[in-house]
């Protein structure tokens, strides 16, 4: 587990739900093959695009993400499928 974490740190590879508030990242992959995955992609969150975590809601979920110049709210569970590099 610790090795895994170190790996992540070295490549600065993480998922959107773990980004600190205000941080930007570039999407590298959107995992899964469900309807939600497809909807995430259709909303413009595809590999190569820049995303920024704007804020989280009162109970720390959902989160507000800025992408392609607009704001998108999603649950942290949904954001966990989105891989980003810092």
């Amino acid at each position: 587990m610790s090795e895994n974490q170190r790996d992540r740190k070295m490549t600065e590879q993480t998922t959107l739900n773990t980004l600190p508030i205000g941080a930007c990242g570039r999407v590298t992959a959107v995992n899964g093959d469900s309807r939600i995955t497809r909807r995430i992609l259709e909303m413009g969150i595809i590999p190569g695009v820049l995303v920024q975590l704007i804020k989280s809601a009162p109970f720390d979920d959902p989160i507000e993400v800025s992408v392609r110049g607009y704001s998108l709210a999603m649950r942290r569970s949904e954001a966990a499928a989105i891989e980003v590099t810092l």
């Binding site: 109970f59 999603m74 949904e78």
Partner: protein
């Protein structure tokens, strides 16, 4: 596609939600709009006539959508309209794609999907003024060139570009060959989502070539507003404040017009009675039709006010924030964040609350919300609570300073909420089982509301309510009236009542007390009275006698009817209200055949519990029928709520007796 000048065009408006589609639709069609549902679904079908350079065209407003992949009902409908497969809708000659300039890339996604249908597309570019205020620049000609599709910059409010749009639409309808790119299924071979990537890379290129973005954009105003409105603490506080205002409006501001309507219908009913010869027809019109329809129309001010607020909140963009703030709490029950506002509105009245669930896209989430909305204690239950409390719990306190009335009131509201949470939890795991609904929701930029859109939305809702619910409700009112009116010719057992009736018929003069006796006697022998006797064994375990049974049957039309029915039964006159001392003492003094009192504090509490949980509102059932487009759901609602109400009332009464009360 060859079109003669006489050929009437059909044009569809498509685009993302919040792109300005409704505003453009209103600007193009004026007030001549028709709103209906597509057959079999609750997707709204809005059509109008657009004066297109001399000749009128049919304009169809498609539901707002982010994609045409047919994964949601909205998308399926939009897709079948565009392909011409939708029954009763002509295949459009041209699709006008409404595109928000401030959100170009994502808005163009649907446009590239439209290309696939090989249908002429004209892009109507909105919000350019906002885009330019952010110091960005856009070259419309270049964008059209890149998209190989006509693009017209428009402003529906000022009328800018409307004429050009009409010209381009006409031109497009006459051209047979579209040069726009088609993303065919071959792209899908290189991965499941390759087509999405191909579309976005095409869009990115087009946008890059046609726009110049200011490198240091001003912080968007929406982000500044959101620093407060979706703040972890103040955001919630403001949400509570907003709800208080909405609540206040539908609860108390609406009472003035509601009272006026009530008086108006009362007056009308009296007028009919005075000016028509006494008989069945007069009674049907005054007590059946006018009273029944009046009882429903009375809700209109509440509906208008709630929809005024909902339209305002939606149009400004606040509604999405409210869902954002509340989603975590709502998702614990299995509901969507967007279910919050409809449920809160249901405390005033479930009818506008249920109508407000339209903002929830997912059908199962929406139905689960509709199914539990009537558990919220609405204003029609208040007279019942008030009467019971006034009769049996007035002036009592616990711990010497907390009034029992307040505790009971709070307990009734809480009971409704708790049961709603449990039922929603169960429904979402059984009949309406579905994976947790995806939340993925755009937080649109804040905008000043468009007064016309808001008013139009409000009036459309009100009209739909009056038209559809009104027809069903009319039928049920007449039925209930008939149940309480017939059989008429059966000789009453008490000669005094019969004499009174004869006296009334003979000289037309009514002695109020005798009239009441007559009514009460009539009720006893009516079908409703017989029904009351028939159901007595069923309601006996709840501590209710046949008279309460009659009141219960009548109150299935509307809860507050309980009060007026009890007044008739206990001979105190129809106009007694919940706080009438005569009614209160009549209830206290009512005796069973063996001399025991009918009502005890336990009976009153049982009745209140029953009223919290039972589905006693035909208007709500009619609206549920309309909103779910099936009789199955209102029947299911009626069935399961009655079962729960009966079980809870049974537990209350029998439990209370075991504890030595009653």
């Amino acid at each position: 596609m060859v079109n003669s000048a006489a050929h009437s065009l059909t044009i569809a408006l498509a685009g993302n939600p919040n792109a300005g589609k409704t505003t453009l639709f209103n600007a193009l069609t004026g007030l001549k709009q028709k709103v209906a549902n597509y057959p079999g679904v609750t997707v709204e079908r809005k059509t109008g006539r657009w004066q297109l350079n001399g000749s009128a065209a049919d304009l169809i407003d498609l539901p707002g959508l982010y994609s045409l992949d047919a994964t949601s009902v909205d998308e399926q409908i939009a897709r079948s309209v565009i392909t011409g497969e939708q029954k009763g809708v002509k295949r459009p000659d041209v699709v006008v794609a409404v595109v928000d300039a401030t959100n170009l890339e994502r808005n163009l996604y649907v446009v590239t999907q439209l290309f696939d249908f090989k249908i002429p597309v004209v892009v109507a570019l909105t919000m350019i003024d906002v885009f330019e205020k952010l110091d960005h620049q856009i070259n419309v000609e270049k964008l059209a060139l890149m998209l190989k599709t006509p693009v017209v910059a428009i402003n529906a409010k000022t009328g800018r570009g409307i004429k050009e749009l009409a010209q381009e639409v006409r031109k497009a309808s006459e051209q047979s060959d579209s040069k726009a790119p088609v993303f065919d299924d071959a792209d899908e071979n290189s991965g499941p989502h390759a087509k999405i990537f191909a579309r976005y890379s095409f869009i990115a290129k087009a946008v890059q070539e046609s726009t110049r973005h200011n490198d240091t954009p001003k912080l968007r105003i929406s982000h500044k507003i959101d620093k407060v409105l979706t703040h972890k603490f103040f955001g919630l506080l403001i949400l509570v404040g907003v709800l208080l205002v909405v609540f206040q409006a539908i609860f108390s501001w609406a009472t003035v017009p509601m009272d006026l309507l009530e008086q108006g219908f009362g007056g009308l009913s009296a007028l009919v009675k005075e000016n028509m010869p006494p008989g069945i027809l007069t009674d049907l019109i005054s007590d059946g039709i006018i009273a029944g329809v009046g009882g429903v129309v009375v809700f209109l001010p509440q509906i208008l006010l709630l929809f005024l607020f909902i339209s305002l909140l939606e149009d400004t963009g606040y509604m999405a924030r409210a869902a954002f703030l509340m989603d975590k709490l709502m998702s614990k029950v299995g509901l969507h964040g967007k279910a919050f506002l409809p449920l809160v509105s249901s405390f005033a009245c479930a009818i506008p609350g249920i109508m407000a669930t339209r903002t929830i896209e997912n059908r199962r989430d929406r139905f689960a919300t509709i199914m539990v909305a009537p558990f919220m204690s609405c204003s029609a239950r208040l007279p019942v609570y008030t009467l019971m409390i006034a009769a049996f719990f007035a002036g009592q306190t616990v711990f010497g300073f907390i009034s029992v009335a307040a505790v009971l009131m709070l307990a009734m509201y809480t009971l409704g909420i708790v049961v709603a949470v449990i039922v929603a939890f169960i429904l979402k795991r059984t009949v309406l089982k579905a994976p947790p609904p995806p939340f993925l929701m755009e937080l649109p930029d804040y905008r000043l509301p468009n007064l016309r859109t808001v008013l139009q939305n409000m009036l459309t809702r009100a009209w739909l309510f009056l038209k559809r619910a009104g027809t069903v409700i009319l039928a049920i009112s007449i039925l209930l009236w008939a149940l309480m009116y017939f059989p008429r010719d059966l000789a009453p057992t008490q000669p005094s009542a019969s004499e009174a009736a004869q006296a009334v018929a003979a000289n037309g003069e009514q002695v109020p007390a005798e009239d009441v006796v007559k009514e009460s006697e009539q009720l006893k022998h009516s079908f409703a009275g017989k029904l009351g006797h028939t159901i007595e064994p069923v309601i006996q375990p709840l501590g209710f006698d046949w008279k309460i049974g009659v009141a219960l049957i009548a109150s299935f039309a509307a809860r507050e009817v309980l009060v007026s029915t009890l007044s008739i039964i206990y001979n105190v006159g129809k106009d007694a209200d919940a706080e009438s001392t005569t009614l209160v003492s009549a209830i206290r003094d009512a005796k069973r055949d063996d001399g025991r009192p009918v009502w005890t504090p336990l009976t009153a509490l049982t009745l209140m519990v029953f009223f919290v949980l039972a589905m006693q509102c035909m208007s709500t059932l009619a609206v549920v029928r309309r909103e779910t487009n099936s009789w199955l759901w209102p029947l299911f609602m009626f069935g399961y709520m009655t079962v729960i109400a009966y079980a809870a009332a049974f537990l209350t009464y029998q439990g209370g007796r075991l504890l030595g009360y009653g």
